[in-house]
């Protein structure tokens, strides 16, 4: 079957649902691994309960022959491991979809049109465990879970007509060192699961996946992982953070890697300490970073402002989650834009940048550090829960394209002639000395100050110093605006132009492409740089489109307001803030509706 050529296209959406702790995630991860080894593109979407145990988990996998831009619309295959999982997540299934359920756990209600496969997963898994019982020694046997996931994997692979060889190979690699009986148990479980489906298929519908030749090296990785690796690639050598969903795994990832890169990582006592430590490390010359989510960003507000005022580079990744206050901590949202751009008493400069895809997480992370260094100010990097946990198959980033910026340092001449840390320059950027540099000593401060950094509140001084600091953003806007947005489609002939930011890029592209394929002229401007906003590009784009649509995942349409405050353009807002990403259909329908108005 793996000989199949790529002339057949695959586009299947598989959804796994079950109780938290039941193995949904590991089955999902296994499936992803198998399918991407077939050359297929993967795009996952996961939701978790806010509780440790007892909630339902959902792991959706879209498998596709080419570039995959969203989690898709209807669900082709639902694998329900529990009744609650079925109840909570069967919505969104196609009417003619396929349901594979654990028949040991429950019996689903009737639904005509649907194809159903019952699979006694526990029974089968236990049976396989018993089969090797005598060969496994006591203590190991006790802790040996019955291979439920593998039974499920076999069943699923067969259902979508995927080859079992990769899974066999995987099982050998993974369980090899646990001994032959364990390997055998799992391989048997795989086949038993597959066979059970085989027996039921008969005339029943099955979707097919068709392997694709792999041409370029590919990764299967999620947004947070790419963000963390991007930070290391950008030269981040200090991290301080405080655990918070859905940002914690950035810190957990870096905790393993940072010492290998000669850097330091601290779990701070809270987010206030985390940002303080990062500012300290930055003052001391290190590229530093923290990652958090809404509640933590709230606590960092005071010191991000200090960073802006004292002109210190620092990267703050905000992995947005659902809801105000504690809200919906395991769900997604784009609701922190206001806090990111406006969250400061009085005003000091900061740059805000948003990652828009798993691949882009790497580059946005690199950009964030470069911008922080170049403009000596805090950079807030926006991502979100959906993007953070989204596993995708992406091409290997071309590391030779990574360019690193370092902060402007004083020359030895400047250091020996009475160094002015806050020299009033044309770009707004002044040379920054680092402790250890003789002649460079100055007192970094959040108080208004003169060029030497001595406190001063003379109105004229205050005016010039503030202008200097904000001039940095003007310099940025002038010099590199164009690399911070992406244009899809042709605005000159567009009836609808979409302007958006962040993790929605893929789904918006997919919807717009679909509309274009159907003959509707739709263009799409996607901003990576949020502050300063690419104002000229937006104005030009808007001027060329008949109507502007700004879709975003929050309540009040924060990005739309931000765009309007900066550009004064007219637009139609489409917002949703219920913890879920957009589905392509939702956006497509909005486009069609706007066209019809």
């Amino acid at each position: 079957m793996s000989q199949q050529t790529a002339t057949h296209a695959t586009d299947v959406v598989v959804r796994l649902a079950g109780e938290s702790g039941e193995g949904v995630v590991s089955l999902g991860d296994l499936t992803v691994q198998m399918l991407s080894s077939l050359g297929l593109d993967i795009y996952t979407f996961q939701t978790f309960p806010a509780e440790i145990k007892g909630g339902t988990v959902m792991y959706q996998i879209r498998v596709h022959s080419g570039v995959t831009l969203s989690q898709g619309d209807g669900v082709d295959v639902l694998i329900a491991l529990s009744k609650d999982g079925y109840d909570t997540f069967h919505q969104g299934m196609r009417e003619d979809g396929i349901l594979l359920y654990d028949s040991d756990a429950f019996t689903p209600p009737e639904s005509p049109g649907r194809t159903e496969y019952g699979l006694p997963i526990s029974t089968l898994a236990n049976h396989e465990k018993q089969a090797v019982r005598s060969e496994v020694e006591g203590e190991q046997l006790k802790r040996l879970p019955p291979p439920k996931n593998i039974v499920g994997l076999g069943a699923l692979m067969r259902l979508i007509s995927a080859p079992l060889e990769p899974a066999e190979q995987y099982i050998r690699d993974l369980f090899g060192r646990k001994g032959e009986p364990i390997v055998r148990m799992n391989i048997n479980a795989l086949h038993v699961g597959a066979q059970h489906i085989e027996n039921q298929i008969g005339a029943k519908r099955t979707p097919h996946v068709y392997p694709v030749p792999i041409e370029r090296e590919r990764l299967t990785i999620n947004g947070n992982q790419m963000l963390a690796i991007g930070a290391l690639a950008a030269g981040c050598r200090f991290y301080a953070g405080y655990p918070i969903t859905p940002a914690s795994d950035i810190m957990e990832f870096l905790a393993k890697e940072m010492p290998k890169f000669g850097g330091e990582l601290i779990q701070a006592e809270d987010e206030i300490a985390a940002i303080g430590m990062c500012l300290g490390a930055s003052f001391a010359g290190k590229k530093s970073m923290t990652a958090t989510s809404g509640p933590g960003l709230s606590l960092m507000v005071e010191q991000i402002n200090l960073g802006g005022q004292a002109e210190l580079p620092v990267v703050v990744a905000d992995i947005q989650r659902g809801g105000a206050s504690t809200g919906m901590p395991t769900k997604t949202s784009q609701g922190d834009l206001n806090l990111a751009v406006y969250g400061v008493h009085n005003e000091s400069p900061r740059i805000v940048i948003a990652a828009s895809s798993v691949e882009d997480c790497f580059w946005t992370s690199v950009d964030a550090f470069n911008l922080a260094e170049k403009y000596q100010c805090p950079v807030i990097l926006l991502s979100d829960q959906a993007l953070a946990t989204r596993k995708c198959t992406i091409p290997m980033p071309e590391l030779d394209k990574v360019r690193l910026e370092e902060r402007l340092k004083p020359t030895s001449e400047e250091l020996s002639n009475g160094f002015h840390r806050f020299e009033l320059t044309e770009t707004g950027v002044s040379p920054m000395s680092i402790p250890g540099m003789a002649g460079g000593a100055y007192v970094s401060t959040g108080i208004e100050h003169d060029e030497l950094s001595n406190p001063g509140y003379d109105p004229d001084l205050a005016q010039r110093m503030k202008a200097k600091r904000f001039r940095k953003l003007e310099t940025l806007a002038k010099s590199e605006g164009a690399s911070y947005y992406r244009l899809w489609g042709e605005p000159r002939r567009a009836k609808v132009g979409i302007i958006a930011f962040g993790s929605t890029e893929g789904v918006l592209r997919e919807s717009a492409e679909r509309a274009r394929e159907e003959g509707y002229p739709v263009a799409h401007l996607h901003c990576r740089l949020i502050n300063p906003l690419p104002v000229e590009a937006i104005k030009e784009f808007a001027a060329r489109c008949d109507k502007i649509l700004i879709p975003e995942l929050n309540w009040s349409g924060q990005f739309g307001h931000w765009v309007r405050a900066n550009t004064n353009i007219e637009y139609h807002s489409f917002t949703k803030d219920v913890g879920l990403p957009f589905a392509p259909n939702e956006i497509y329908n909005q486009i069609i509706q706007l066209l019809a108005e």
């Binding site: 601290i266 490390a281 004292a310 402790p435 250890g436 970094s444 001595n454």
Partner: protein, 300 residues
């Protein structure tokens, strides 16, 4: 105080004096602390360009401006966090933190036990005037005023925010520091300048986190805890006190017959976070694992 921050060159106390004139009121205890710090730095031979003085906000937190080293005058209560970032990322620097009782024990109180856990090689010098100076005379956690319930007089007086007497107790920062296992805990007094200098020298030389709480009267807003008040009530830590005995140190800190001046507690066995981080890094050193490309290939 790392070797790397000590200079071959000799520095006199006045070499650490910046051109900025202190803005403190005449008679402010902070002058004495500043002078003791100049002297201590000179004795230790600290290289100005390898030293950073970090502070929060308050009258006392203005100190970094009056010294020729690098400095960071940050925000209220967060100096320790910033100093930790500096020290952990640059163990070659000497890092000193200065500030007020409000800055350190009120808004900043949450960072103390955690800095103690990390035990970075930082010397923290608190100028304790038992009042909020810069904001003009509100009550501080170290303020000492009768309780509201035992005040006979209804006349508004004393601290501006507790005009009829305090509704809360005074903290004992030394006892707290010992419970945190801060690895060097001492008390100084700005009107005992030589002793204060010695204590600061010892703090700078201590490998690990050192807390020095120095009484530093505020004649402008605290007319109770004056220099005389403390002159009468301070005495030397008893000769036979063993600062490595934590329970005894705690007992000494609780004494109500006055304030012992000197080193009250020390724990020289405690690990520092810089040592821990260095141990971690050295174990990976030489291994080619710190490669972005290798990391990415893990996901292929």
């Amino acid at each position: 105080m790392p070797e790397t921050a000590v200079s071959q060159q000799q520095y006199a106390p006045k070499d650490y004096k910046s051109s900025l004139k202190p803005i403190w009121c005449p008679g402010c205890g902070d002058f004495g602390v500043l002078n003791a710090l100049y002297k201590a730095m000179s004795i230790c031979g600290l290289s100005p360009e390898k030293t950073v003085i970090v502070s929060g906000i308050g009258c006392s937190s203005r100190l970094p401006g009056f010294v020729t080293t690098y400095g960071f005058h940050s925000v209220h209560g967060r100096a320790l966090t910033i100093a930790t970032g500096i020290k952990v990322s640059r163990p070659d620097l000497n890092v000193v933190v200065v500030g007020g009782d409000g800055d350190g024990y009120s808004i900043g109180a949450g960072h103390l036990p955690h800095t103690a856990r990390r035990n970075p090689d930082i010397t923290y010098l608190i100028m304790n005037n038992n009042v909020y100076g810069l904001t003009k005379g509100q009550v501080s956690p170290t303020s000492m005023v009768p309780m509201a319930s035992v005040q006979a007089n209804l006349d508004p007086k004393r601290w501006k925010t507790t005009p009829y007497g305090m509704t809360e107790d005074t903290i004992n920062p030394i006892a707290m520091a010992i419970a945190y296992d801060i690895s060097f805990v001492a008390r100084g007094f700005s009107y005992r300048p030589n002793q204060l200098t010695e204590i600061i020298v010892a703090g700078l030389q201590h490998k690990g986190f050192a807390l020095i709480d120095a009484f530093s009267p505020c004649p402008t807003f605290n007319q109770d805890q004056t220099d005389d008040f403390y002159k009468e009530r301070t005495y030397d830590v008893p000769e036979d006190h063993d600062p490595t005995d934590r329970v005894k140190a705690f007992e000494l800190a609780l004494r109500t017959d006055g304030y012992p001046i000197g080193v009250i507690y020390r724990n020289d066995l405690k690990h520092s976070i810089m040592e821990e981080q260095a141990a971690l890094k050295s174990r990976f050193a030489g291994q080619p694992s710190g490669s972005v490309s290798a990391l990415l290939h893990r996901f292929v």
